[in-house]
Amino acid sequence: MVRRRFHAMGTEIELLVDAGSAEPALDAAEQEFHRLEALLSRFREDSELSRLNRDGALAAGPDLRRVVELALAARERSGGRFDPTVHDALVAAGYDRSFELVPSEMDTSPGMSMDMDIPVQHSMDIHVQAERIELAPGIRIDLGGIGKGYAAERAAEILATAGPCLVNAGGDVATRDGAWPVGVETADEPLTLELSGSSGLATSGRDRRRWRRDGRELHHLIDPRTGAPAETDLLRVTVVASDAIEAEVAAKSLFLAGAELAAAEADAAGIPAVLVTDDGRTVHAGGLA
């Protein structure tokens, strides 16, 4: 078993390959993360995403087009709970730079807008045609979560050439072949889920990327319906799905649903999920024993 850890996309990345040696594949997978970060980060002025948000239209490369298409499909599938157009709401809430640089406490400075509730616009806001992406006026997109899921899947594809593998992109997990015991944080005792074959796992919550502004606790999971950080009785949701992108979308969608509805939806759809509520309960749903 070989393992590599490095920092990319604002989080810790961990690569595991069940092989005696896999240096070329590990190098290629790490490079893939850095390459995709350079394309998809909203914190890099020269990234394709930043240029798209700045100019409103772009002849984009295949990765940005693919991630935007995945995000639009996820928005459709989740009934709007997942929405890439939360960019301005995130910035308004204070998440306007790489998370390591966001102060844990901030005050609204004079002249700065205090309006954090920016309802997300939905209709005809993003067009993807051939190689061109166009945003409606005033629309900017954030691909943070789904971008990491996409990168994890891409890296897993590369690592799979060397053997069974697992990619953990700060909570977005992709596996190929083999059986992989993955530890999941719960409210009480540690839980280990064994992922097998080609699958994905993601955790969304408000227990990490959070900060305080004017005494109010804020986090990075924006509810597109209100344009403000989601108010829910869930602290964290972990979901297992067919791939990391699906898992990321489902985790965010269930998080916004709240504990009761999330458990019902996971059960109905057969989505294995671990829900941790803010009052310290851990609920298994979606057929997870």
């Binding site: 989080t11 990491k148 953990n168 700060g170 993955v182 999941v184 280990t192 097998s196 067919s242």
Partner: protein, 120 residues
């Protein structure tokens, strides 16, 4: 006396006969019954309408019978489709529940984890 009474009777009878004759003559019993043209047209129209109504009733009855036959056929087809759908759903449900338990991508284990996830 007798002749006076007789004259009175004669006069009364004559008056009765006179008025009876008047009434009989007033009814023109000798005149042939001539029908009003409007009444004739109305009667003809009535007959025509009755004939058409009978025809319409025949057509409606025929169509109703056809509809009932088609409805019966359609109901039988729907029942057959429902039965087939239920059977298919039952077989899919059985198959999927078996597959889920056999090849579910996740299970809870007590092994030490190779990696730990956290909120992304």
């Amino acid at each position: 006396m007798t002749s006076h009474t007789g004259r009175l009777y004669s006069l009364a009878i004559a008056l009765v006969v006179f008025f009876l004759a008047w009434a009989v003559i007033a009814t023109h019993p000798w005149a042939t019954a001539t029908k009003d043209a409007r009444l004739q047209a109305l009667a003809a129209r009535e007959a025509q309408i009755r004939k058409e109504a009978k025809l319409v009733q025949t057509v409606v009855a025929q169509r109703w019978a056809n509809y009932q036959a088609q409805l019966k056929t359609r109901k039988a087809a729907i029942a057959a489709a429902k039965a087939a759908s239920s059977a298919q759903l039952a077989s899919v449900s059985t198959a999927s529940s078996g597959t889920a338990s056999a090849s579910s991508p996740v299970k809870v284990v007590t092994l030490p984890p190779l990696t730990v996830t956290r909120t992304s």
